[in-house]
Structures are given as C-alpha cells and as structure tokens.
C-alpha cells in the first residue's frame, strides 16, 4: 500500500497528490509515468509523473477527474493509502543538447509540461511556455510556469483570462515571425497536439508529443497502447508504454490514436455515472 502524504486541489476537477513510493522517486525522470490502482479489483491507470521529492521518497501526480477511477482517486485524503503504485515506466524525455525550446501545454497536460519546462530551465535552456485552458477557473500552475519560463503565454478558449484563443495562435505568430526553436515539446489533448504539429510542419521545427493511450500493464505485455507511426514512408507499430510515451509528433497517426482512445467511451460513461450515483448517496 502506498500512502498519500500531501494533497492539494489545483482547481475544481484537477488534484495533485504526493504519494510515498521511494523506489519510484529514486529513479523517476521527467516524461516517465506510473500506473496505480485505487483499490482491490480497481482499474490500472497510467499517470505521468509530475515531480519527485527524493528526501521524503514521494512522487507527485496530477490528475483530472474524467471517469470512475479518477473520481474514486479524488476521494482519497492525506494519510489514505493507494492499493498499487508502480513505476517509473516508459522512457524519459530526451532533453540533452536543447538550447531553445517551446513547451506547449494544454489543460491538465500542463501538469506534465511543467516539470519538463523546469528541467530545461535547470539545464540553462531558453524556455518559452505556452499554456492553454478552457477558462479562467481551470488555470493551473501559473506561478510554477512563471518561475521556470523565460517567456510565458497563457491562453483561454473563452478569453476569461489573459489572451483568448488556442495555443497554436501564439506559436504560429512566433514561427512566422522567424523565431527558431530547437524543439517544440507539447503535452495535452490529442487534438491540440495534432494541431501543434500541423502549425510547426511548414517551419520544419521538430515536435515531441507525449502520448497517453489506454494501457494495462505498462511493460509491453498487452499491446493495448500500440500506436501506428509513419516512419520514412513505412507504417511501424510501437507501444507507448515502452517505446514512449514521447514520440516524434510528425510520425504519429493522431486520427487513429483519437479513435482508439474512445474504444470504451460508453463503458466509461456508464461506470462514471455509477460511481457518481454511489457518491450522491454518501454526500
């Protein structure tokens, strides 16, 4: 069992937890993920590591309530225990040699984009962060991004905070204005990452995307997280859990990944409703 040492609500639907898992904390690098189960018979869900504290052996996770399992996870308080917590899985984000980078985060994806920006900043790279949210209430980690970015641009879909529009708007302006990045690293909803890739394509800037498909074991055993990559004109299948979660954005078949992500849409909606109904009884 794994104890929740600290917990913080970042906004109404996004929660941060620091979980005692010293072996994972010792090894974790930015870009890697963990898999957890809330309770016995629970589902295994992957969450990208949002930071570690090696002094007290904790691993930080940030999640959005999107379904039954995250709803149950969100009920856990400080001092409560999680059934299982395993990692660090996947390969770390390759940051070596990067001098000027644009980090593009969307929604809860910013939770994972932030430690990447931080790592780049600590390496001495010039960091531009563009982070986008649906509205003002959903903005998270603004101060943290400020601390590690040379330039921070915040976008909201409805214009209720800072600039209105998608994250691709300022990105396109910069690229069109002749700005050069060694790499764009983007983490967020698939549709956003797809458009970041499309925005960068005419300029030939390399794009790293972070994929988060459905998976079970996280060690390459089930193949459920497979992605089709178009590599030099050939179709290649890779597993996000062991070959990723980071991929070259230009190789990803986003439409297929989005379709596969909705495989259990009906099931998940029903399961979420069931948990919510149970909770109504409790509250």
């Amino acid at each position: 069992m794994y104890r929740i040492v600290r917990r913080k609500d970042l906004n109404k639907t996004v929660t941060q937890m620091e979980v005692e898992a010293p072996l994972v904390a010792n090894k974790a690098k930015s870009g890697q993920f963990i898999i957890l189960r809330v309770d016995e018979d629970g589902e295994r869900i992957p969450l990208t590591i949002a930071g570690t504290n090696r002094d007290d052996g904790t691993v930080k996770i940030i999640f959005q309530i999107v379904g039954a399992t995250t709803e149950k996870l969100n009920l856990k308080r400080e001092g409560d225990f999680l059934q299982d917590f395993v990692g660090p899985l996947g390969t770390a984000t390759h940051l070596d040699g990067l001098k000027k980078v644009c980090v593009v985060g969307g929604g809860v994806g910013c939770a994972i984009a932030m430690p990447v920006a931080e790592a780049l900043h600590d390496m001495g790279a010039d960091v531009t962060s563009i982070i986008g949210f649906r509205n003002k209430d959903l903005v998270i980690l603004e101060d943290e991004f400020k601390a590690c970015s040379d330039r921070l641009i915040i976008m909201t879909d409805d214009g209720s905070y800072k600039r209105q529009g998608n994250v691709t708007v300022p990105l396109k302006e910069m690229l069109s204005g002749g700005e050069k990045f060694d790499m764009i690293i983007t983490i967020g909803p698939l549709i956003m990452m797809k458009f970041v890739v499309e925005t960068a394509r005419p300029f030939g800037t390399p794009v790293t995307v972070s994929m988060n498909p459905i998976m079970i074991d996280g060690t390459g055993m089930c193949g459920g997280c497979r992605l089709t990559l178009n590599r030099n004109g050939e179709k290649v299948t890779e597993f996000a859990c062991v070959d990723g979660p980071d991929f070259n954005g230009y190789e990803i078949d986003f439409d297929e990944a989005m379709s596969r992500g909705r495989m259990y849409f009906d099931f998940e909606r029903r399961a979420h409703e069931r948990v919510c109904n149970l909770l109504k009884g409790v509250k």
């Binding site: 395993v86 899985l89 390459g220 055993m221 089930c222 299948t237 909705r262 399961a271």
Partner: protein, 469 residues
C-alpha cells in the same frame, strides 16, 4: 484382475452449461475413482514416466501411495520435486510428457498421471493444515525476477535449502502467466494464491509492483546484497500479424484480452476494467492461448466464436483436450485459412459516427498445405482468389509472444539470441556472472512445466555455486 484398458473419465461440467460460467471445467477425480485409476499403474521397473517429466516427479511412488489411500504420503512424494502440484495436475500437457512414456500406454490408454496428481494436490489443499517447515537461514540471499512458474519453482527450491529469497513481480498480483494468462475455468486463481502462500510460509518474500529494469536494475539487486539473480520474466511481448486494420477498435492481443478478463476481472458484472463482451469473435491462432481466448470470449457472452488457423486440425499446437473442450462448447474452427485484413466501420458522410473505427469483419484467404518446413511441419500456402469474409466484432490475435526486452536493455553483458531469448548454459547460467535465467524468457513461449523445469535446474546451479563460494 484384468486391467481397465481406458483411463477413468474426468468428470466435467456439461459443455453448454460451462460455456456460460467461469467455474472450473474439469471437476477432478473422487477418492474412489482416484484409487481405481491408481490401480491401473503396473509399477513397472524402469519407470519411463519419470523421465518424461521435466521435474522428474517420482510418479510410480506417489501412485503407489494413492493405491493405499495414503494421499498425504503421495503429496509428500510429489512435493519433494514439484512446488506447484495443483497447477501442474491441471495445465501440464501430460499426453506428450509422462503419460506418453507410460508402459501401460503401449497396449492401452496410459495411466491418468495428471489427473492423479491433481487429485492428490487438491486433497492436500483441502485437508492439510500442515505448515511447511522453514529451513534454517544459510546466510545467502537470492533475487528472483518474475513470479511465474519458473520464478516460483526456483524460489521454492532455494527457500527449502535455507536461502533467503525475494521474488520481484511487475504486476500487482503474484503468479505471472498463471494469473494473467490462464483463465479461471482451467486454473482457479485460488489455487495459484494458495501455492504462493505456501512459498511465503517457507520464508519467501514476494514484492509486487516492482519492474526489474525500471524500478530496480539487476545491478542494483547485487548492490542490495543479493548474491545471485534468477530471471524468469517470461515472454510477454505480443506479436501482431502486421496486416491492415490491426489498430481498429475491437482488435486485441490475446495477452490483453486475457489479462483484462483474468487479472483485471473484467468478467464481473460491473467491472472497473472494460472489455468488449458479446457479439461475434474471431481468434487467430491455434495454440493453448488461442483456445483460452476463444473460450473466455464465449463465457463473456459472445454469440459466435471462431478459431482461425492457417494449418489443419492435425497441426493445431494446442493440447488435444483443450481443442475437444472448445469444440464441445460450440467454438467453430475455421482451419486452413489465414487473415489478410481486418475490416472496420467507416461512415464517409459522418466522421463523428460513434461506430467509426470499430471492427466489422475479418477477411481471410484459404490455405493448403505444401512442402514440409525445416521443423517437418507442412507449410501452409495461400490458395489464390479464395478470399472470404467473416462478420465479427472482435478479433483476438493469439499468434505468439516474444521475450520482453526490458531487462536485456538495462543489464549490460546479458546476451540474447536472434529472437530476444536470453542465452543460458545447461545449468541456466547467462553470459553475466551470477545471473541465471529460465522459462519463456529463454525459450520463447512454451509450457508451464518446462518453465518449472528450468527454474529447478537454475536453483540447483545457484545452490552449487553459492554453497562452494
């Protein structure tokens, strides 16, 4: 007394009833039947059956005890060489091992050795409260990677000799393929749990949620004070056919489908982990895993299940008993055909149609058997122009697995062969000092008992090495 020429039948749940539940198919011998079956053993002098067993169970000796109704005595004999008797009695391919060598089998049906082993183990589990004796600690620590059949066997043998053993398991439950792969109706999970508990009582530590190669490396295990490491990490990586449509929703690897149902309990009425239930299902492949996947799909409520296999019934690599059970339950064998494409739903007018991207069928081509290949199996060749389609909602690829490269990639000096299997000598020693390996991680997908045999050999080598250190 004349010898009964036939093995005593194994009582089973009726096919149409069992096809709707996950309870065990074979119900096991009663005491009376077990004694009668034991009486068929000739107790011949040269005991060829023992040679046929990868862990050399002293078969005629344990059967003699069954004859005398000394079932605990029989169990003690089995457990000197096998640490998982209740498992082996159920999933071993006895027909190609011990029973294939049985002297009685020359003229009649061989003795039902597997069924007797199962009876003895079940009798013990039901009646005995004996707590296994912990051996005195000999001062040596050994780490085992993976809690499948090879790892559990190696751990058990070493613990009995006084070694302090820690087993590391990547998943949240110990048992490896016995838990995630083999379904409940063939191997109840309570039996695996019981075997793991027995090992714990012997002093073995089982650490779940530790991925060796990620959470800890083999080198770190040595730094932690382990003097030898056994790698039994299995052949976990699923193979796909690389045909169009394999990324459609409804296409599973057998590993994923079985793991969802077995380990994650997706067979429950309101599971936390989803699985596609019902509809029509095609399972591609002809091994035991294909049979398991097909019969699991049936129990999850499929209205029709096909096995698609490119050779003929004679070449099916699955155990005969499993094939027979599958046929009795109503699974249809589409033999001599091979998938060329998986077809999906696509509404050109409405890209938001929720059915888009789901499997609707599988296109196959008929095959005929040509010249034998290097292994002597006749090679299937496609019959030109014979393509046809089956309407299905789910396709399960059960065409084999490869060893997982996680450990190889993080352990310098560990040599593997062309197919990714770890290279070992006859004692199980790898190219790395003090690192041993066995089971599917070495051989690629094989049987539970051969993995146990490898775990046993490695335990012996580790003991010899550490004892003389």
């Amino acid at each position: 007394m004349a010898i009964n020429p036939k093995k005593h039948e194994m009582p089973t749940q009726p096919p149409l009833e069992r096809a709707k539940n996950f309870r065990e198919v074979a119900l096991g011998y009663s005491r009376e039947i077990a004694v009668k079956e034991a009486q068929r053993c000739l107790n011949c002098k040269n005991k060829p059956c023992v040679e046929g067993c990868p862990v050399n169970i002293r078969i005629p000796e344990f059967i003699a005890r069954v004859k005398e109704e000394d079932f605990e005595g029989a169990y003690d004999i089995i457990s000197t060489t096998s640490s998982l008797p209740a498992v082996c009695g159920r999933v071993c391919p006895q027909e190609t091992q011990c029973e294939s060598k049985c002297t009685l089998g020359i003229k009649f049906e061989p003795v039902g050795i597997g069924r007797l082993e199962r009876f003895v183990a079940d009798y013990h589990n039901e009646h005995s409260n004996k707590i296994p004796q912990k051996a005195e600690y000999n001062g040596h620590r050994v780490a085992i990677v993976g809690s499948g059949p090879s790892g559990l066997t190696c751990a058990g043998d070493l613990a009995k000799k006084g070694y302090k053993v820690t087993v590391y398991e990547a998943l949240h439950t110990a048992g490896g393929v016995l838990v995630y792969g083999i379904p409940e109706f063939r191997l109840p999970k309570s039996i695996v749990k019981k075997e793991v508990e027995t090992l714990k009582a012997l002093g073995v530590d089982v650490e779940t949620n530790v991925v060796i190669g990620k959470t800890l490396t083999v080198d770190e295990l040595f730094e932690m004070g382990f003097e030898a490491v056994f790698i039994g990490s299995g052949a976990g990586l699923p193979n796909f056919m690389n045909i169009p449509g394999e990324a459609l929703k409804g296409v599973y690897s057998a590993n994923e489908f079985l793991t969802r149902s077995n380990l994650m309990k997706a067979y429950l009425d309101e599971p936390d982990t989803p699985i596609m239930k019902g509809g029509k299902v095609a399972v591609v492949g002809g091994g035991n895993v294909a049979m398991d996947a097909a019969r699991t799909a049936l129990r999850l409520g499929a209205e029709k299940v096909y096995i698609v296999y490119r050779r003929s019934m004679e070449e099916l690599p699955a155990r005969k008993e499993e094939v027979e059970h599958a046929e009795e339950e109503g699974i249809e064998f589409k033999i001599l055909c091979n998938p060329v494409e998986i077809i999906g739903y696509k509404n050109e007018q409405d890209p938001r149609d929720s059915k888009n991207g789901f499997v609707t069928g599988i296109k196959c081509i008929k095959m005929e058997l040509g010249e034998p290949d290097e292994k002597g199996r006749r090679k299937p060749v496609p019959v030109e122009g014979s393509e046809f389609s089956l309407d299905v909602d789910v396709v399960i690829m059960a065409i084999g697995t490869s060893p997982n490269p996680l450990i190889k990639n993080t352990t310098s000096g560990l040599e593997v062969n062309r197919r990714g299997g770890i290279i070992v000598d006859e004692g199980g020693l790898t190219s790395r000092e003090n690192v041993y390996a066995g089971g599917d991680a070495v051989t690629g997908a094989a049987t539970v008992i051969s993995a146990m045999g490898a775990g046993k050999i490695a335990a012996k080598s580790i003991d010899e090495f550490l004892k003389n250190k």
